[in-house]
């Protein structure tokens, strides 16, 4: 009897001791992780980048409505290809519609720029598209000579995270596949990126723009992961993990992979599922209707910003 009692007492004690021994490093690592998470994702970007220097913008397109809205926003901006010199468009597999719409959109961008830069032979410029200042043009030529060439953008296809009517049992596998493809795109090692002019493109996309397709969720989370790993590896002063380093001889941009989420214009009073998932993760969360202003994931987190109608 006393033996079992003693055994019981011993085991309780060892259990307690082990827990204590485990708890301390666990707590430390959780604190370190939270610290890394917050400092690797600064809220404000310092103004250090020269305009018209080579930049890389990544735009996520979804099916039908998402694509139409995204291109509508880019037209209304209007997207300036001299500011966002290289553009990566991500579409889901089986979505030829979005891919063809991108090509169409880029064609109009190019035509506009040819007019703007005075590249057409007639030399006639309309009033609303003024010529570039000589200084701007000089910088442009100095930094990035082939802004107007077709190679200044790429359309990459990723597997769908979840097809319509796909079973929820197989969805995790396809989501992982999609996530892996997104990681590769952000690292610039996706199969379809092999032909890219590597010296021209900044290492990582500087900015990611998405408005809510499932692929956008994968891209944003992958970007967060890379930013965290990048921060941890540099702050530990260890060698850059080989998988993360890409284009040698290029200075990494100080704030890579910034993320901007635009809630769909179709969402008037409630956030979409993608929005709800990404609210705590993106750097900027923009909404187009006043009743969605000031939404946040939990107390103390940054709020959604109301920017009015962005589509046209």
């Amino acid at each position: 009897m006393s033996l079992t009692k003693m055994w019981h007492w011993l085991s309780m004690n060892t259990l307690f001791a082990t827990l204590l021994i485990l708890a301390v490093p666990l707590a430390v690592s959780v604190l370190l992780f939270l610290h890394a998470l917050s400092t690797s994702h600064p809220t404000v970007v310092l103004k250090t980048r020269r305009r018209y220097s080579p930049t890389h913008l990544l735009i996520v397109l979804g099916s039908g409505g998402h694509t139409a809205e995204m291109l509508s926003m880019l037209r209304r901006l209007p997207l300036d290809p001299t500011l966002y010199t290289y553009r990566t468009y991500v579409v889901s597999s089986g979505d030829g519609f979005s891919a063809s719409k991108v090509v169409e959109f880029e064609k109009t961008l190019r035509q506009k720029r040819e007019r703007k830069g005075g590249l057409d032979e007639s030399g006639i410029c309309s009033e609303d598209t003024p010529r570039l200042e000589p200084e701007q043009l000089h910088r442009l030529n100095e930094n990035f000579t082939d802004v107007a060439i077709p190679g200044s953008y790429i359309v990459i296809t990723v597997p769908r995270a979840r097809r319509v009517h796909q079973s929820f049992w197989t969805a995790p596998f396809t989501t992982v596949k999609c996530f892996w493809a997104c990681l590769n795109i952000l690292r610039g090692v996706h199969v379809e990126q092999r032909s890219c002019p590597k010296t021209m493109i900044p290492r990582y996309p500087d900015l990611i723009l998405t408005n809510g397709p499932a692929t956008g969720v994968c891209i944003v989370l992958a970007a967060k992961l890379i930013r965290l790993l990048r921060y941890v590896s540099t702050s530990l002063n260890v060698w850059y993990p080989a998988v993360l380093s890409l284009y040698e001889g290029q200075a990494p941009t100080p704030y890579p992979l910034r993320t901007v989420f635009v809630e769909s214009w179709a969402r008037v009073t409630s956030l979409s599922l993608s929005g709800k998932i990404l609210l705590p993760f993106v750097d900027r969360f923009l909404v187009q209707w006043p009743s969605l202003r000031g939404k946040r994931a939990w107390r103390g987190m940054k709020e959604s910003e109301f920017v009015g109608t962005l589509v046209e």
Partner: protein, 201 residues
Amino acid sequence: MADEEQKPTKVCFVTIGATAPFNLLLSNVLNTRFLDSLSLYGYTDLLIQFGNEGRVIFEEYMHKYPFGECGLNISGFDFNRTGLSQEMLSTKGNKDVGRRRAEGMILSHAGSGSILEALRIGIPLVVVPNPALQDNHQQELADELSKQGYAVSSDPTDIASAVRKAESLRSRLQGWPPINSGQDTSQGLGQVMADEMGFID
């Protein structure tokens, strides 16, 4: 002389959508109440994008009424891969030589792509949210647009009276896109992107 006396054409374009079936709307479009209403307001043509699932209903109807009803010239197609801008533009009025065309209307499912396309063209628009869709945020969008005077929001079963409402919207139709006011950020998406890029001002 004969041309001037002739009644101008007036087109109503109906889009059911390509992704989700919306048979409830299609069967209400091909209903005498709606067709009567169209003809009452001077419409001559009805063009329908009926989607994959709608083909059966449309062909059944055309079999029953090969020459249409209420003096309307009815035609349809499943969908257009390159987008619907051509079809939407066909509802616009013109003053060309030959037969005159009066400004018509667009009746659309509540998908944002179609709504935006129609708003850009600037034609009276009737938005019909699909009640069968779960998580029905379409209704909210349609109601808000109707409240702000950009479109008419209608129930699938009530589209006959929506024709009259579209006619009254025609005179007070607002320009699109709206000029923004009361935003958190001063210059919208462009400024947010520039901030995140860290461009020197």
